[in-house]
Amino acid sequence: MSALKRPSILVPLIALVLFILVPIAVPDSQYEQSVILWCFLFAIMASGWNLISGLAGYVSLGHSVYLGIGMYTGGILAKAWGVDSIYLMPLGAIVAGLVALVIGAVVLRTRSHSFVIITIAVLLSFLLLAANLKWLTGGSDGLIVKQPSWAKELGNTPYYYVLLGLLVLTIALCAFVMRSRLGAGLVAIRNDEGKAASIGINTTVYKVTAYTLSALPFGAAGAVWGQYLGFVNPIGAFAILASVYLVLAALMGGRGTLWGPVIGGFLVALFQEFSTRWSGGVSSRVLIMGVILILVVMFMPSGLLPTIKKAVERRRTRGSAVKFIDQASIAASTSVVDTSAIAARDQGKAHQGDTILEVRNLVKTFGGVTAVDNVSMTVQRGTITGLIGPNGSGKTTLFNCMTGTYQPTSGEVLLSGEDITRAKIWTRAHDGLGRTFQITRLFKSMTVLDNLVAPLERTSAAEMVAGRYAGDEVDRAREILAFMGLQEFEKQNAAALSFGQQKLVELAQVLMLRPSIILLDEPASGINPTLIDKLATVIRRLNEAGTTVLIVEHNIPLVLSLCDHIHVLAEGKILTQGTPTEIRNDPNVIEAYLGPDHLLEAPHA
């Protein structure tokens, strides 16, 4: 979902005006208003759900629990304070938000796929709590919520306008999130959570924030809904069907989009109403909704809006030639560009020559296998250092311990003297450690530019709420792209690039972090020799600008030509280290690669 510059606001505005006019212009429309009220409710819920489940991809099947919490907050406090629950909407939102914050903080720490089940369990637990805490909730019988204090002739109209207002607010909230860095980060998490962490996105904070925000509209709506219904009871407040239907709504309209959940919410509410009226009862409604859910999941899982959009785009681009993306042409361009865009953050500090990355007595075992056996090594600042070794030597495992992908069994990893052994992956990125992946991990649903502005140098609330293109990120991104010779690919979808181009883009992405050291994971694998040369040039320029580079590679000629210093690993231990010339002529190194002599037992067959 690439960001739209100026969305067409005309249609929604017209719709808004029409909705405002309904109670005024159409006489005796109480029935219609009540139907539209359900539409509003579902649109609000589906939009709120979209924040955590559409954007971030964490599907919650029990989200109506926050509606129920809002209903009980409204019902209980309305009774206790004697006010109309309409005034309690902010409180409903706050209570729901707090509960979501607590639950989210515990549940969203890991990427356990039982998140779906947990959300259902939470819903069921609240159902039972409500049924059993008689002194607070009235138990299974529930609470009666007294009639509103406005004149009877007004009927449901105040509810109508209040919920319309809440819907507008919810849509505004969603629009705001989608345009902010928070939204961009959530989409990154949905695409590839591990990768998002490696470029500095504090995935826990982002997920919990989204989860908490998603509960607010539910709580606010719930506070007033109880009074609208006239009573609040456990089964009505915490019905799993409501959760399922609101997910259906978001799915049908198009989760992850702004207007999809709104449209879907209207559709689902209308379907429910019509199937009850015209097919004679609850049973048919459940059957029809079940069938619709099956059909949507099976045949239109991306939803109406995206499907329509794709069909429209296909018609528009039919006939226009597909632009041929040529690997060689990128290799040719060598731009003379101001290297301040790619400069390391601590350039200028007189650190040259000290140790930037150190590994002390590192041991990593997997079950009974010791992959890394008490390895100690250092990487000097300002160098291009290589780490090589045959398959099974443990170099990839060692690399992964440095980046945080693995936790060492024992030993330490130090970055500029600070112990980062147990540090979270995003913390390492914030501290100046960037890394690329052997098989590139770009965010496939985003453009190249969006990929480049996604990295974060720190976790800050101010930055989270800022627009995703605010600040100088876009300019820096463009400069780095120009430096790589990739400026024409700015608007391309990342998934459309060739493998070699993706490698360069991923490197550019890491550079946005202004890392003091970049760890390259087999950068030369899978690309042709011309592109390898280009890559080597880029790495040298980076190094000249002050960035330390550590390369793990199998392409020995590349390593020998590029690196100042090389460590050789074999069978989990450091075999030797030295300059390229020393390594090339070291018989032990040749042995390690070609095979130890002592394995020769039987004569040639």
Binding site: S498, P557, L560, I590, L594, P596
Partner: protein, 242 residues
């Protein structure tokens, strides 16, 4: 006339990240042990995967005897007599050794007599299968697992066995045992194609060698000749005085 079991011509294949094999050609004689070596990224494992059907060739041909393999599904290729011993994690850890080997005969499970015969044949060849028949496969050492994996691959009486780095992670003693088993297998007319990181070991075990670089064959010949070839070192480590 040499009895050719497998031929590969002009094969190009990749994983969507670009072509790994760029015009691969290969010929395997019956009863031989051929070892593919080469620097990483050369495409050694990909050759095995193309033959076994896990990766489809974008172009080129793979023939087993007079039957074309490319385009067939892995299950069909398995039925045609090509078994594979992958690099890691091939066994069912919570099943017993005997069960694991039996699972190798899944495709002949309906013929109880044949199944028992094959099981006996494998147990004969690999005493471990009998000695530790009821131990859970997850409790075996690396070398023992490799033996069981090879035993399992023999249950369908394949004419060609593919092995991806059989010596990986094994101590020298286990390597010797595995090597002995591989030689025994081919003495009855089966053909083995294996990939090895360890050039010396590979050429010691094999009868023929293939050196790959960047998706193509650079050298072929007798294993002994390959082992002594000075070009190999430069291929891995670059030219002297670079």
């Amino acid at each position: 006339m040499p009895d050719i079991v497998l031929t590969m011509t002009g094969v190009e294949a990749g994983y969507g990240g670009g072509l790994v094999l760029q015009g691969m050609a290969l010929e395997l004689e019956r009863g031989t042990i051929t070892c593919i070596v080469g620097p990483n990224g050369a495409g050694k494992s990909t050759v095995l995967r193309v033959i076994s059907g896990l990766v489809s060739a974008a172009s080129g041909q793979v023939t087993l005897g007079d039957m074309q393999l490319n385009g067939k599904s892995p299950a069909q290729i398995l039925k045609s007599g090509v078994a594979q011993v992958p690099q890691n994690r091939a066994l069912f850890d919570s099943m017993s050794v005997r069960e694991n080997v039996m699972m190798g005969g899944y495709l002949i499970r309906r013929d109880r007599k044949l199944l028992d015969e094959r099981l006996a044949m494998v147990a004969d060849l690999i005493p471990l299968v009998e000695d530790r028949a009821h131990d859970k496969a997850g409790n075996l050492s690396g070398g023992q697992r490799r033996m069981v994996e090879i035993g399992r691959s023999l249950m369908l009486d394949p004419s060609l066995i593919l092995m991806d780095e059989p010596s990986l992670g094994l101590d020298p003693k286990s390597v010797a045992t595995v090597a002995g088993l591989i030689r025994q297998i081919t003495s009855t007319g089966r053909t083995v194609l294996l990939v090895e990181q360890n050039v010396r070991l590979g050429m010691n075990l094999a009868t023929h060698g293939v050196v790959m670089e960047q998706g193509q064959v650079r050298l072929t010949g007798d294993a002994a000749g390959i082992a002594d070839n000075p070009e190999i070192a430069s291929m891995y480590l670059g030219k002297v005085g670079n």
